[in-house]
Symmetry: C2
Subunit: 261 residues, 2 copies
DNA sequence: CGAAGTTTTGAGGACCTTCAAAAGTTGTGG
DNA sequence: CCACAACTTTTGAAGGTCCTCAAAACTTCG
């Protein structure tokens, strides 16, 4: 029921890190019917143009979301770790505007969209939690835009790897200064808008400068604070702090007031 | 009541372009209490670190959303036109991770967050519409990441200006091939991750090649299809098509089926 | 052990930046 | 209505980051 390695449990933990659910809602969430799928490395789960019928909960492994441009270029627009609800986007949208695929071998849980819509409607706190999750995803997209648009190659890579470390520590997988991100330099490059060749050069430069060590996916950050200063990483955009407003203010209240965490 | 230039009416039109609301929901939406604010050019409406208490409906003018990096660089992560609900993000989030400001003189409607949360809860169709709007915003963020990460300067600028033309035509402001975007080249540059100087050069190159003409904010695109081909613009990511699932499927239905537009 | 994939290294070049200054535009006040 | 200040755009020149092409070195895995 509360197997901590179950994908639904992981997603619930992510949700409740922001705001706990009522016992009823929690039970309903964990009772969502799903289909478990085990995929190898580099497999597409959603393709551009698909009409999504289900939603993906990542249980194990790394997924990416990418878009391609006509001349063959590919941009990875997000990376996902266990516990992420990867395609809430598909709930409301008719046509997928991007691809979702595995970055490593992965196991995913697939929930039919009508079930999610129904639970979101039956339990407004769940509806709000899902919405909140998409808002945080949007905040991450914004930060990636900033990363690629206004930082140079070294800053970009450090920023990305600090974000991933932070998120990986949040789910209790590893310390943020020392974790494994089992992806290739080519994929790293596609995530930060550089070429694979230049990514390689930048990584060795970062190693030489002692800012960050990348060894085939093993990331270690000797001085977290210094690395944050180097690339301007500030985790507010990851919004670990919980939603601003709770059910208390939902009544015809006159004005908002902060909710204690 | 249905003054077509009222900000709420514009936002409602945007919502209903995707999926019509019931008469009740529509009336409740238009009855939202608001405060109207008239701002000059280059004024901040939301600052990084603010705790949002209200939500912004853009009635007139252009707004931008931006983030800055420590060395002074600024990245505009979105541009907003009348009818946009600019800061739904602020509904659930405790701390603003970005700035929202006017790009031109603008008039905005400000709705206290509790009212929006209440209406979203009382009318699930409105809750879903707001959520859907944030999903479309997220899709736009993704495309901007692709734009900056995987296209060169000329393609970036054309893509941005095709997107803006498309959106401006959607709200009935002007034809997409011939519209006014009253912003400076410096701000254009901050939106596409280039410098102002290079943006100027790229714009004259595009004019010389007959792809696109920028004359102090007056945009004209002689051959829309050719311009789309040039930069790989495909408006699916703007999701004008309406949400995938309607109330019909919200009952304990077994499987999803498409809803006719 | 060989094949396929990944990373490193090299060399030349393109795109874009930075610094700088001139030219053009807009708005305000005398 | 002109004058002037402030802002915006254009143009020039030099340089750096990053790209492309190419090949060698290293790693992984059947």
């Amino acid at each position: 029921m509360s197997d901590p390695t179950n994908g639904l449990t992981l997603a619930l933990a992510k949700i409740e890190r922001r705001r706990p659910l009522s016992a009823d809602a929690r039970a309903a969430f964990l009772a969502l019917p799903f289909r478990r799928r085990i995929s190898k490395k580099y497999v597409d789960l959603v393709r551009e143009g698909d009409r999504p019928t289900e939603c993906i909960f990542l249980e194990q492994g790394i997924l990416n979301r990418s878009k391609t441009v006509p001349d063959g270029g590919r941009q990875i627009v997000s990376l996902h770790i266990p516990g992420d609800m990867v395609d809430l986007h598909g709930i409301l949208v008719q046509i997928a505007d991007h691809r979702v695929g595995t970055e490593t071998a992965a196991t995913t849980l697939h929930v039919a969209i009508p079930h999610l819509l129904a639970i979101a409607e039956a339990y407004p706190e769940i509806g709000r939690a899902l919405w909140f999750d998409t808002l945080v995803d949007a905040a991450i997209y914004r930060e990636w835009t900033v990363n690629i648009g206004r930082r140079d190659g070294r800053e970009r890579l450090v920023h990305l790897l600090l974000e991933m470390g932070y998120r990986i520590e949040q789910i209790g997988l590893a310390p943020r200064t020392n974790y494994v991100l089992p992806i290739s330099q080519a994929d790293l490059a596609d995530a930060v808008g550089l070429t694979q060749v230049h990514t390689s050069r930048v990584l060795t430069a970062l190693r030489n400068d002692g800012i960050l060590d990348w060894d085939g996916g093993k990331v270690s950050i000797p001085d977290w604070a210094a690395a944050c200063g180097f690339c301007g990483f500030d985790p507010v955009y990851l919004h670990g702090e919980g939603p601003r407003h709770g059910p208390a203010e939902l009544s015809p209240a006159p004005m908002a007031s902060p909710v204690p965490a």
